[in-house]
Amino acid sequence: MEYVAGVDSGSTTTKLVVLRDGELAGQYVVSTGANSRRAFEKAFERALEHLKVHPFQIKFVVSTGYGRAGIHLANRTVSEITCHARGVRWLFPSAEVIIDIGGQDFKVIRLDKGGRVVDFAMNDKCAAGTGRYLELMGRVFEMDLETFGRAGGTGLEAVEIANVCTVFAETEVIAHISRGTEETKIIAGIFNAVAKRVHSLAKQLIMEAREIVFTGGVAKNAGIVGALERMLGQAVKVPFEPQITGALGAALFAWEDIIRRSQYESGI
């Protein structure tokens, strides 16, 4: 049995995926906190314990994500754009567009028929409309993220939130609250604002896509999924565990490296 691992060191959470002979063996999500390396170690130990393997049995590690360069055990790094493409294609073989919204960034990736990245867009410095933004908005309503995600009702009745800038949007939301607007309408408005931001960034990339996959921690928010679907006018698919697609892609690249090496050694 051969093990490989992929780690996605994100700004908010660190994700680890372990493959056993090319098949998914385990996935682990820990919060990154202030030290990405320690977060990786924590996830790694959890994996070793869960799978009952020794560190040396993990033959190859590929790291990706914001903190990819700081993962000391990694044999190689691959950018998260390429990793997400790889991971999502493994789960959804005909995916054409990936929308990934993480803790502090979001990206839209366009794939060709063969699963190769043909184009992508990413937000700049501003973290508006990302997980961090939703976290802060949830705090305004004193809700945890899960409750918050379901608090937008059907989403059909929503106020207009013109700003996605975290600071200005908060002002806008508070103005609505003080006006006595229903909570569900305000929250639905917040979700629509996020969907709008993604849509405006990557209209051209999303155009005429037959299959759209939504990943990243924010994909767990049912309200955003609904808002995106309404905005795009089509259904989006969400993986069983939307946070791990980057790590999964990294693990698949690690597995590829193992195969390549064994082929090289056996002279194929």
Partner: protein
């Protein structure tokens, strides 16, 4: 440069020393009695300044510098580069300049002239008018402007500037251009020997010292780099296009991501050096061609057609790049308006393009790296091999 303590013959460390203290040579020359004329943008020919017996010095910013004082003079929604340059003046880092020459390249650059002149009171100042369209009449206008500029410098210098002196200055900078182009060609053949950041450093150094000294330095550099040995490095060749890039940090980031800039279309790069001034029809005709007619800055409208884009495409082909990285500064309308059409044009010819938008800080270096890495992976089509391998593994 002896002050810097480099051993003789180490040309690249001379370049680094100049880049560390760009003003050092200018300050020395000023102490010897020379007049130092700072200029922004590349339309008012530095050759005329040199012909007046003065030293042209290209004003540059400091990437990532905290712009505090300039913000009290300039609106924060203006070009971050211009604000940064003015910040250098306000901090007294440009106090060795006797004069300021600004061309009306873009509106922000034009407007900084008045503010700079009003508050900094340089002994000499000139606002150089540049038409926005290339027509026979605008060409005539540019030639007349060259003469006005010369007359104004004559008045300041207190002596005439003969055409012979201008021709001599042009010959010196044409030699700069020839040697720089040779280095570009050398780098294209052996990109591992002379790195992208080093190449940019050489060009920055050239805009900080007199042209004759730059010629001597370039000759030394050529000998030195030709003697270096190649390193096995497989980096993806890219063309860098964009607004002003006067700091090697972006070039370094690109190399850290496994790619390398073998050619550029920027005004500290090839734009300034690839157009020779032809002297056969007289100095003013030659200067008008090189600095106006042919100078490929997107601030000049060339009407319908894709003359400028073709220029970029030809560079991409000639230097065998895989893709194009664009770098634009916030609010840089001339470059930003070009971008969508340029991207589509290049993509249509098989050259994908990645755009990095920045406020002249590169403070989001990590996300920039993610993009460049993903772009390089995209160009390398790395995912294709996986499918082949997976297929074979199943057999």
């Amino acid at each position: 440069m002896n002050k810097c303590g480099e051993s003789k013959g180490d040309a690249m460390s001379k370049v680094k020393a100049i880049c560390r203290a760009r003003d050092a040579r200018a300050r020395e020359l000023r102490a010897e009695g020379k007049k130092i004329i700072g200029y922004l943008c590349y339309f008012a020919p530095p050759e005329i300044i040199a012909a007046a017996g003065m030293v042209p010095f290209r004003i540059m910013g400091r990437l990532g510098d905290d712009v505090v004082e300039a913000n009290s003079y300039l609106e924060p929604y203006g070009c971050p580069y211009v604000r940064n340059c003015f910040e250098q003046a306000l901090k007294g880092r440009l106090n060795f300049l006797d004069g300021l020459v600004v061309s009306h390249s873009c509106d922000m650059v034009q407007r900084i002239y008045g503010i700079w002149k009003y508050y900094q009171k340089p002994a000499y100042g000139y606002l150089f008018n540049v038409p926005h369209q290339v027509t026979p009449w605008s060409r005539q206008f540019f030639i007349r402007e060259l003469a006005f500029f010369k007359e104004s410098l004559e008045k300041y210098a207190g002596q005439g500037i003969s055409e012979e002196r201008i021709a001599r200055a042009i010959e010196l900078s044409n030699e700069n251009r020839r040697l720089v182009k040779e280095l570009y060609e050398f780098r294209s053949r052996r990109p591992s020997v002379l790195s992208g950041p080093e190449m940019l450093g050489i060009l920055i150094a050239g805009m900080s010292i007199p042209p004759d000294e730059f010629n001597a330095l370039l000759k030394e550099l050529k000998m030195e780099v030709e003697g270096r040995s190649d390193v096995p490095l497989d980096r993806t060749r890219v063309l860098l296009w964009g607004s002003i890039i006067d700091d090697p940090r972006l070039y370094e980031l690109i190399e850290e991501c496994g790619a390398t800039v073998v050619i550029d279309d920027t005004c500290i790069g090839s734009r300034a050096y690839f157009t020779r001034v032809d002297l056969s029809n007289g100095v003013f005709e030659g200067l008008a061609d090189a600095y106006f007619g042919k100078f490929p800055c997107p601030r000049t409208d060339r009407g319908p057609g894709t003359g400028r884009f073709e220029y970029v495409l030809n560079l991409a082909r000639e230097y065998r790049v895989k893709g194009v990285i664009g770098y634009t500064l916030s609010f840089c309308d001339p470059h930003k308006l070009d971008y969508p059409d340029l991207r589509d044009y290049l993509a249509g010819h098989g050259y994908p393009m990645l755009l990095i938008d920045d406020d002249y800080t590169l403070s989001h270096a990590e996300t920039v790296k993610t993009r460049i890495e993903a772009f390089r992976e995209m160009l390398a089509k790395g995912s294709a091999s996986f499918q082949d391998l997976a297929g074979r593994a199943q057999l």
